[in-house]
Structures are given as structure tokens and as C-alpha cells.
């Protein structure tokens, strides 16, 4: 009887064979590659206010996500970021409509407005809506939206737990807490739903504030219990084991850390402070960063951790990371040659044109949708 049960539960042998054949072409792209690509996109977006280019960047991000998104719960965050982007644009434009700036020449709608008394800062509410400031607001909103969408794309393409594998050993334990916390949130949401449903079983009708109050205690109790269970399990499994490190190494770690902080502080002062030479500022900052690197590497030696199947870094990963960087560079260069194309004038309002060079940048940005490998198929829920 046991054998029949096992046979029923497990997928058929044939499936395992086909999964093995796919091992080579389906794999996780290095999460750092996805994030470099996305940061490149975000950097490119920040150099322009051309709405056509910004919409182009959003479309590029959406195309890549659509083609390479794994079927995992965390990958669904992209729609959330898209919604957030829409909200940002709408909010930015609405603010412009409410707090009208009395500039511009092209009148769109003439609305009555009031100017608040001076003890309320003398803000002007409502009034005639002009085209030029509205366009300006729209473009700026779009820029922020494009940056958000780029971040959203990375967070739905790169698995958080695989990103954790690339975190330096010294701060690995902080990384674990962050990743565990992210998996706790959806769990908490389903707890709330379950407990609210169970209130019905007691004959409760209230769904307002009192209802929320009643669910807080059981939900918190549940979360607390789960945290303790998880902490005990992790402790039992060797989380936080450390190696003994020689006193010299310990002192060296501490020394480099202090040096890093001091150098970085002075360097930042040199960079941002007024009236001082700007040559040594960046130099000291770089030296500080180098010290921080050494310190983190040294501190990591205390950790005994090894990594199981670390993320591979192959040609497609390099290509994806480079595509992001290339897009940012192309947009920057395009700005040098065609400043008005990258930041189209809103006063007077003009129909924006697309600089050819930037269009090339968009083409580079969409490359990962074709050169990166498909994510493994089994990543999703099989309820």
C-alpha cells in the first residue's frame, strides 16, 4: 500500500528525464546581472525627460520581464511596481493641477482658484491650468515611473534568495534576516485572512476597526510563535557558527574598518565641501572604499560558511549586465550631442522628437530578453 501511495504522490519518471535534458538551457541568470541591467536602465531614465524615451524604457523593462519572469511568488511584484508607477505619474500631475504655478502661456482650462491667507503660507489652490507646467509635471512623473519600473523589473527577475548567495560572508547574517522577513510578510497576510475568516465562526459581523483589533492579537501571536520556531530550527542547523580567528587578524579587521570610516568621511567632505581642493576628495573616498572592501573580506574569514552551487557568471550574465551599462552610457552621450532631444522643451511646448542614438540605447536595453537563459521551469507553485 505504501508503494502505491508514493507512486501516486510523485510525478512520473518520464518527467524527471525531460527536466534533466533541460538543465543546460534553463538556468537562473546571476541576480547581480539583473540588478546591474536594471540600475543601468534607471540611470538612463534619470538622464532624460523625453516622454517617448521614458515610455520606451518602461516598455523595454516590461518586455524583458514578460519573457524571462520565473513562475515564483516573488516574481509577481512587477505588477505592483507598474501600479505604483501609474500612481506616481497621476499624483505628480494632480499636484500640479491643485497647486498651480502661475506660469505658461497656453491656457487649457480656466478654473476658479483661491489663494490661502499668508498664515497658511499663501499657497494658491486651483486656478487656470496651463499646458507648459502640466507637461513638465508629466515628464518628471514619467521619469520617476521609469526608474521605479526598472527596480520592479529587477526584483521580479532576480530571486531574493539567490541574491543572498552573492552577499559577502561578513554581512550574510543580516542578509538572511532580510530574506526571512520578506517571506514572513506574505505569510502574515494569509494569517490575517484566515483569522478574519474564523471570526465568522464565532458569529461576529463587525468588519470595521473593531474587527481589525480582534485579529491583531492572534496574528501577532502566530508570527511570534513562527519566529521562535524558525530561530530554534536555524540554531539547531548551525546558523551563526564561527571560526576562531587569530587576535592579529581580528585587530587588522578592526583597524581597516576604522580607517575606512575615517577616509570615507574626509573624502566626502572634500567632495561636497565648498572652497577646498576637489582633487583629493574623490581620491580619499576611493581609498576609504578600498579599506571597507578589505575589512569586509577579512571579517568574512570568521564565517565558516560555504556556498552550494553558487551563481554562475557566464557570457549571458556578462551581456545582460553590459546591456544595462551600455544603455546608460548611450543616453549620457546622447545628452551631450542632442540636449534638446533628450530634454524636450515644455515652454514653448513642442512635440518631442526621438534622438537616433538614444533609440539605439533602447535596442541594447532590450537585448537581455533574447540573450539571457530562461529561468528553470519548476520554480513556481504546484498546488
Amino acid at each position: 500500500m505504501t508503494t502505491t501511495t508514493i507512486g501516486h504522490r510523485a510525478p512520473k519518471q518520464r518527467l524527471a528525464g525531460s527536466a534533466l535534458r533541460n538543465v543546460d538551457d534553463r538556468r537562473w541568470l546571476h541576480p547581480v546581472a539583473w540588478w546591474s541591467w536594471a540600475i543601468g536602465l534607471a540611470a538612463a531614465a534619470s538622464t532624460t525627460t523625453n516622454p517617448l524615451l521614458l515610455v520606451g524604457l518602461i516598455v523595454v523593462a516590461a518586455v524583458v520581464v514578460d519573457r524571462r519572469k520565473p513562475d515564483a511568488p516573488w516574481a509577481r511584484s512587477f505588477t505592483f511596481f507598474l501600479r505604483l508607477a501609474v500612481i506616481v505619474v497621476v499624483f505628480r500631475v494632480l499636484m500640479q493641477v491643485i497647486f498651480v504655478a502661475p506660469i505658461g502661456t497656453t491656457l487649457l482650462i480656466d478654473l476658479p482658484g483661491i489663494t490661502l491667507p499668508s498664515w497658511l503660507a499663501g499657497i494658491r489652490l486651483g486656478g487656470s491650468i496651463m499646458l507648459e507646467p502640466l507637461l513638465n509635471a508629466l515628464y518628471e512623473g514619467l521619469r520617476l515611473a521609469a526608474i521605479l519600473v526598472a527596480v520592479g523589473a529587477a526584483s521580479s527577475l532576480a530571486s531574493p534568495s539567490r541574491l543572498l548567495k552573492s552577499v559577502p560572508a561578513a554581512i550574510y547574517e543580516i542578509g538572511v534576516s532580510v530574506v526571512v522577513a520578506t517571506t514572513f510578510l506574505p505569510q502574515l497576510a494569509s494569517d490575517v485572512a484566515r483569522i478574519r475568516g474564523n471570526r465568522r465562526l464565532r458569529g461576529r459581523r463587525d468588519s470595521g476597526l473593531r474587527g481589525v483589533g480582534g485579529t491583531v492579537m492572534p496574528v501577532l501571536h502566530g508570527a511570534m510563535d513562527r519566529s521562535i520556531t524558525l530561530a530554534a530550527a536555524m540554531d539547531s542547523r548551525g546558523y551563526g557558527r564561527t571560526d576562531t580567528v587569530s587576535p592579529t587578524a581580528r585587530r587588522l579587521t578592526a583597524a581597516t574598518l576604522v580607517a575606512a570610516v575615517v577616509l570615507a568621511t574626509i573624502g566626502t567632505y572634500g567632495l561636497l565641501g565648498t572652497g577646498s581642493a576637489t582633487v583629493w576628495g574623490p581620491g580619499l573616498l576611493l581609498a576609504g572604499l578600498a579599506c571597507a572592501f578589505v575589512s569586509v573580506a577579512l571579517a568574512g574569514r570568521r564565517s565558516v560558511r560555504t556556498r552550494y552551487r553558487p551563481n554562475a557568471w557566464k557570457a549571458p550574465d556578462v551581456a545582460t549586465a553590459c546591456a544595462g551599462a551600455a544603455t546608460a552610457i548611450v543616453f549620457l552621450v546622447a545628452g551631450r550631442f542632442d540636449a534638446s532631444g533628450m530634454n524636450p522643451s515644455t515652454a514653448p511646448a513642442q512635440w518631442p522628437s526621438v534622438p537616433l542614438l538614444a533609440l539605439l540605447g533602447l535596442l541594447v536595453a532590450v537585448l537581455p530578453a533574447f540573450v539571457s537563459p530562461q529561468p528553470p521551469r519548476d520554480a513556481g507553485d504546484h498546488a
Partner: protein, 542 residues
């Protein structure tokens, strides 16, 4: 391998010790079963083996505990992770990563094992526990038995010498439990791993044990010995042992196989007796489901299920984890997204009801009874329940005094034991005297004493005319309690009939007594005892 030398454990300095003066040695490759009623210190004893007690939980440990020569007093749980593997009660709550393969590697990563060795051991463990097909699967998508096997594999990859398991099968259906225990049995016999396991459902595990540690209530002595010896006198025993005592067998049988060898005389004695079963009542139908289908997103949880319930009957819903038992109960209280069919509880669709109108018709004690409780004392909880159900003040408290007299007013509901919490939730549901009472997995984590008490309460409720539906994995409970058994598989009802017919014919769901006395259809020790008491044995041929 594990040595306890005059160990006493207490959680505060002034408390009486949970474990007092325990001396014991567990040798390599032994399968040790820890048993005892709730609160006897089973979890404390298990936690002491890898140092979670006292390093993680706090508390005072006197005496010396050594594992593989290392004392737990100066080795923290993480330092012992390479020797002791702990498989916790709820695997899902203790998984750190999100896929099977990563979870298997996690312990090794923490221990700093070389990548090539890790790769090899993960492959070996996948094969050893039959997890190969699941390697890329997200842990959340696994069934209960699969999760438990992954949890075992996840500690096994570190090649521990000792495995500690706390109630590994309590949430599993009989098939999945067998799957897990078979895997453990193999580890003990093939790899010489020492296993220490605590479990309430002795009928599932005792045949695998080499030795039993029987913990009594605090203050009573601990007995240690081989299963057969302990079982001759132990108060906590599986049905087959009780049957042996009723029949006067010597030595006391521990397994169904032992018992069957001695059972021929008993079977002969019982010839001509008809097992006294709880009759399927001929009363009015109080609730029914007709062709009900339920879908959650893209998954179908129930496919056109029909079921009718009569006043005064106890129906046991059985089937694998995820077969649709809970969904069925939830549709009876109008909480499932029903996509087709009709549900009727005393003339109304429960989904259209709420408030007192609902709870007077149907009540459900959920799988986590604690979910119903939301105040900070038992008294407040009872008062809130009276208000919710719209009944006289004091109704719930009076019920509680009847069912669980030992619970005091000022206790925090979280401080109650699992069984007490269940009884409190049951009282809240009963306060409104619902026609239909649903219990979801009521015996998970309950000891035999509490289970007997629950069985008594449920029988009384049925006699008083309530219709009772309980979803359970506990075949022994279903055998004792129910008049009808409904087996659900893959969202469909595959069997529906009187208990004696449905479960005795199934190798998976048959209770121990039925297995021993087959082909006769006896279900419980109580039936046999009554039959033997009432009439002198028949001598006629049959």
C-alpha cells in the same frame, strides 16, 4: 552515543523539575521512542539532546548530558549541528530557504562543507529519501509527507549521528506517516543513525522502536525498557496492547503481527457475536451538500460532492492531506468559494447567513483552535462568546466547567495545553447549540487521555441530537467514534458508508483491532471487551 547522567531540568529556579534525576545511555543505531502525556517533558527531553534546552529556551539543567562525547553545557545547538539533527514538529515553519535542493544544502553550508562534497551529498540524500523528482520544487507546494521527508533530508545531509524528531507524523495522513517512518527505519538499519522520537500516536511508531522511554506526569518516575516490557504495564498504550490485556495474552503484543499470531482463540471466542456498533440513525436530514464544487483560483478543491447529514450521527471525513476535507467543512459554514451546487443547513444556504443566525445552525472548530481565541483570559473569552452567540451570560463558562473543570478563569488562552485550547474553542462553538458541529483535525497533538475525553464529549453531543462531522487522520478515533465514514480523494467522495464497512475493508484506514481480528469486523477494544463480558463464548461450529 547519548548519555544523561543524573539530569534534572527546570525552567525557573523555584519551579519543580520537569525532568528529575534521569540517567540513561542511548547507544549507536538505536531507535528510541519517547512517550508520555502532555506536559510530561517530552519536548524538553528532546531539546536537551542538542542543547536547545537550556541555551535557546532558558532554564536550569543539572547533571551532565553528553552527545558523542561532547557536553551540551558548553556546546551550543549550532556547535552540535554536525552531530545532532533536529527535525521539528512543523517542518514548514522551520524551513529557511525556498526550494527542496537549497533546503537540503542549508545545514552543510552553515557547517562549511566543501562545495564538491555538498553536491554529492545532496544527490545521495535525494535518492535515499526518494526526493529526486521534487528537487526544484518550492517547499510550500509540497504535501505534508514530502515536507517531513525534506525536513529529515535537510538535517541528514550533514551526516549527523543522532536524529531527534518531535511528533513527526502528527499532522500526516496514515499513508504519508508510513512513508516517513519507512524512511526513518531505513536510516536506522542501513546507516546506523541513532533516532530519538517523541510521538502520541503509538500505534504508528511502536513497532519500529528498540527501546521506550516512558515519562510520567511531573513527579512520577520515568521507566525505560524494551517496548514489550513497558507495554505490559504502561497506561499509555496503543489499541493492540489494550486488546492483548483484554484477551489476557502473554507476552503482550506490541505489533499487529504479534497479536495476530495469538488471536486465533480470541477470534474463535468472538464467533457469533455481532460487534455493537453505533447505529446510523434513521432521523431527519439536517444538512446536505448537493453536487458542490469549490475552486481556489485554478485548483479545484471539491468536484461535485454530495453528502447528507442526519441528526445524532457522527461522520468521520478521511483522506490524504489536501484531499479536500477542510474545504468540505468550510463549505458547511459558508466559507468556501462555491462554484456550483447547493448547500443547505437547516433549510438555508450558510453562505447567506452571518452572526447568531449562522452559529445557531452550524459551528466549526478550526484546525488551529487558537485562531478563535482573541482575548487575554479564559473568563473574557467566555463572556465574549456569550455576547457573540446571543445567549445568556455564563453559558459558555458553564459548558467549560462541565467539559474541562481544571481550566481556571484567569489563565491566558495561549498558556493552555493544546487539548485544553481545543476544549475551550469547542465550548465557544457549542454555546449557541448549533445543529451541525464540524471539527477539523481535532486530535492533532492530543495524548490518549485527552482524546478519550474528547471522544466521550462527542458521543454525548451526538446522543443529544447534534450532527457531528469530523475531519481526521486518526483511524483509531474514527473507529471508536463515528457511525459513518466518508473517504475523500482528490476532491471527490470515493466511499460513504457505515464505519465498519468502509474502514475495515481498507488497508490504509483499518484500525489495529480490525487488522488483528480480520475477517471479523471489530473496530475497537471496547467492543471486544463488551462482547466478552456479556455472553459466555459460543461453542457452536461456524
Amino acid at each position: 552515543m547519548i548519555e544523561f547522567d543524573d539530569v534534572s531540568i527546570r525552567y525557573t529556579y523555584d519551579a519543580s523539575p520537569i525532568i528529575a534525576g534521569l540517567t540513561l545511555t542511548i547507544t549507536e543505531g538505536e531507535f528510541v521512542l519517547v512517550l508520555g502525556p502532555t506536559g510530561s517533558g517530552k519536548s524538553t527531553l528532546l531539546g536537551a539532546i542538542n542543547g536547545l534546552v537550556p541555551h535557546f529556551t532558558g532554564g536550569v539543567v543539572n547533571g551532565d548530558i553528553r552527545v558523542d562525547g561532547r557536553s551540551t553545557s558548553n556546546n551550543r545547538p549550532r556547535d552540535l549541528a554536525d552531530v545532532v539533527g533536529v527535525v521539528p514538529q512543523d517542518p514548514l515553519a522551520s524551513f529557511v530557504t525556498d526550494t527542496v535542493e537549497e533546503e537540503l544544502a542549508y545545514t552543510m553550508e552553515c557547517l562549511g562543507i566543501a562545495p564538491t562534497v555538498m553536491r554529492r551529498r545532496v544527490e545521495e540524500t535525494l535518492d535515499l529519501l526518494g526526493l529526486e523528482e521534487l528537487r526544484h520544487r518550492p517547499l510550500r507546494s509540497l504535501s505534508g509527507g514530502q515536507r517531513q521527508r525534506v525536513a529529515i533530508g535537510a538535517v541528514l545531509t550533514a551526516h549527523p549521528r543522532v536524529l531527534v524528531l518531535d511528533e513527526p507524523t502528527s499532522a500526516l495522513d496514515p499513508g504519508a506517516a508510513e512513508e516517513v517512518l519507512a524512511a526513518l527505519h531505513r536510516l536506522v538499519h542501513d546507516l546506523g543513525v541513532t533516532v530519538v522520537l517523541a510521538e502520541h500516536r503509538l500505534e504508528r511508531v511502536i513497532q519500529y522502536a528498540d527501546r521506550v522511554i516512558a515519562l510520567g506526569a511531573p513527579g512520577t518516575p520515568t521507566t525505560i525498557g524494551d517496548p514489550a516490557t513497558i507495554m505490559t504495564t504502561a497506561a499509555i498504550a496503543p489499541p493492540v496492547v489494550h486488546l492483548g490485556r483484554v484477551a489476557g495474552w502473554d507476552p503482550t503484543p506490541v505489533t499487529v503481527r504479534d497479536a495476530r499470531r495469538q488471536a486465533s482463540t480470541l477470534r474463535h471466542l468472538l464467533l457469533g457475536h455481532v460487534p455493537p456498533v453505533r447505529p446510523v440513525p434513521d432521523s431527519d436530514e439536517v444538512a446536505h451538500l448537493r453536487d458542490v464544487s469549490v475552486r481556489y483560483g485554478s485548483t479545484t478543491a471539491l468536484r461535485s460532492v454530495s453528502l447528507s447529514l442526519r441528526a445524532g450521527e457522527v461522520v468521520a471525513l478521511m483522506g490524504r492531506n489536501g484531499a479536500g476535507k477542510s474545504t468540505l467543512l468550510h463549505s458547511l459554514v459558508g466559507r468556501s468559494p462555491v462554484s456550483g451546487g447547493t448547500i443547505d443547513v437547516s433549510g438555508t444556504d450558510p453562505a447567506t447567513l452571518d452572526g447568531p443566525a449562522l452559529v445557531h445552525r452550524v459551528g466549526l472548530v478550526p484546525q488551529e483552535p487558537g485562531d478563535l481565541l482573541e482575548t487575554s483570559t479564559v473568563a473574557e473569552e467566555c463572556a465574549a462568546s456569550d455576547r457573540d452567540a446571543g445567549c445568556d451570560a455564563g453559558t459558555t463558562r458553564a459548558l467549560l466547567a462541565l467539559l474541562a473543570p481544571e481550566i481556571t478563569d484567569s489563565t491566558h488562552p495561549r498558556d493552555l495545553s493544546e487539548g485544553q485550547r481545543l476544549l475551550l474553542a469547542l465550548c465557544i462553538v457549542l454555546a449557541s447549540r448549533p445543529t451541525v458541529i464540524c471539527l477539523d483535525e481535532p486530535t492533532r497533538g492530543l495524548d490518549y487521555a485527552t482524546k478519550d475525553r474528547l471522544a466521550g464529549i462527542v458521543t454525548d453531543l451526538a446522543d443529544a441530537g447534534h450532527a457531528i462531522v469530523l475531519a481526521t487522520h486518526d483511524v483509531e478515533l474514527a473507529a471508536v467514534l463515528s457511525s459513518r465514514v466518508v473517504i475523500v480523494a482528490d476532491g471527490e467522495v470515493v466511499a460513504d458508508g457505515p464505519t465498519s464497512e468502509v474502514i475495515t475493508s481498507s488497508p490504509m484506514f483499518a484500525p489495529q483491532v480490525a487488522k488483528v481480528l480480520a475477517p471479523q469486523t471489530w473496530l475497537s477494544v471496547e467492543q471486544v471487551r463488551r462482547a466478552l463480558d456479556t455472553q459466555p463464548p459460543h461453542k457452536d461450529s461456524a
